[in-house]
Symmetry: C2
Subunit: 243 residues, 2 copies
């Protein structure tokens, strides 16, 4: 039985990796991943053979990983953050449906919602929703409906992929949808380049977020009705009586 | 300036901890936590002084941690899973509002939604909501509304605290709310004791989940319209064309 591991690297630095992440990368003969993620692990494992493809090469990359495993290699597919959350775990399982000879193990990691939240304070201490604004694989109408439902449920929200060159106005559109159900002074936050060079955070209101500059390395956080600023941090109280 | 770290331990075993988790526990003079979580780290740090309180002692425990930090100790408050998600990060920040002399650092960890998902396969590869069924700190009407909104948004859902002795029928009640908006053959999964002794998983339909046995060590996963079983795993396709 060949082994294929799908591994979440966490935010990108060595400190954010779990022990399991390190153990499974070390067990693999070859590491497969998006070029940028392979670059993250190269300094830690300079001798490890790798196979990298650029963005949008996900299907090709995962097919190659399964092929290598079917040939008898022990293969690690690496993802930033978690292996599942907008990661490759699902695609690898889908593509391996016919490969009964390849055993797949998923190794979870710290996704951007958790890593970004920890820098901002504690925005996600209560029920929350994670939504990607990328419409590459999801019709925009579904994303709109999820934004509306998350706002109506007063979930704290973590937005992934809030912007790209082709979608410069998506965060503004998303804020307009949220503003139909949430006060414009709702506390929001952004975390950029978490665990990497140029790490930064910012707090603002939902009204201000509407025209904030974001990029694909930014995770955006939107509070619920109770979220407030404490000592410069974004905090959603869970409801303990602290009196 | 005193230091207080709020640290997510991940699912509970050493493999699931991040390097940062280990580094920050090692830097602390004393580790503060819920009795069960202190037991998890005792084998790794048998010499480390600890302060433990039982469940429901959260406010007392966090106040003690801040007090120890204000006295000049370097303190680590440990949480299972992530430090923020239903963890102590928010409460520590709330309680430390007046303590300008205590610097707080949050260290994220792999929350049960991610750890459980990795065992089940890849249920959370797309937009998802995390909801706790515990009404200890949250009115049940808010939980009901969030379940309805998550179902209407076709979010994948991770349910925390799906049951306790006093709330034996809560999962059934939650399923009834979801069944008003989701087909009864929606694929669901459960992960129990993740990363600990007696780890197990199970797949079932939403109709079956209604009367499934769960406890407070179980995380429940509810699929979206696209979630399906692949090789015995629960997989939510992200939408890649795999033709």
């Amino acid at each position: 039985m060949s082994k294929l591991f799908v591994i979440g690297l966490g935010p990108g630095n060595a400190e954010g990796m779990t022990s399991a992440c390190r153990i499974f990368i070390e067990r693999a003969d070859i590491v497969v991943g998006y070029t940028k993620y392979i670059e993250l692990i190269k300094p830690l494992y300079p001798e490890k053979p790798t196979f990298a493809t650029p963005m949008l090469g996900e299907v090709e990359r995962c097919k190659k990983a399964i092929e290598l495993a079917a040939e008898g290699h022990t293969v690690a597919v690496v993802c930033s953050g978690d292996a599942g959350v907008y990661g490759m775990a699902g695609l690898v399982l889908e593509l391996s449906e016919e490969h009964v000879d390849v055993e797949i193990e998923i190794v979870p990691g710290v996704t951007a919602a958790l890593a970004g939240a920890s820098l901002l304070g504690a925005p996600l201490t209560h029920d929350f929703a994670v939504i990607s604004l990328s419409d590459l694989l999801t019709p925009w109408e579904i994303i709109e409906n999820r934004l509306t439902c998350a706002a109506m449920g007063d979930f704290c929200i973590a937005l992934y992929n809030p912007s790209s060159k082709k979608r410069a106005d998506y965060l503004g559109k998303a804020c307009d949808i949220l503003l139909a159900h949430k006060p414009s002074d709702t506390l929001c936050g952004m975390a950029r380049n978490v665990g990497r060079e140029g790490e930064s955070t910012a707090l603002m209101t939902l009204g201000e977020l509407r025209s904030a500059k974001v990029d694909m390395f930014t995770t955006v956080f939107i509070g619920n009705v109770q979220t407030r600023e404490i000592k410069g941090k974004m905090v959603t109280p869970r409801g303990y009586k602290i009196g």
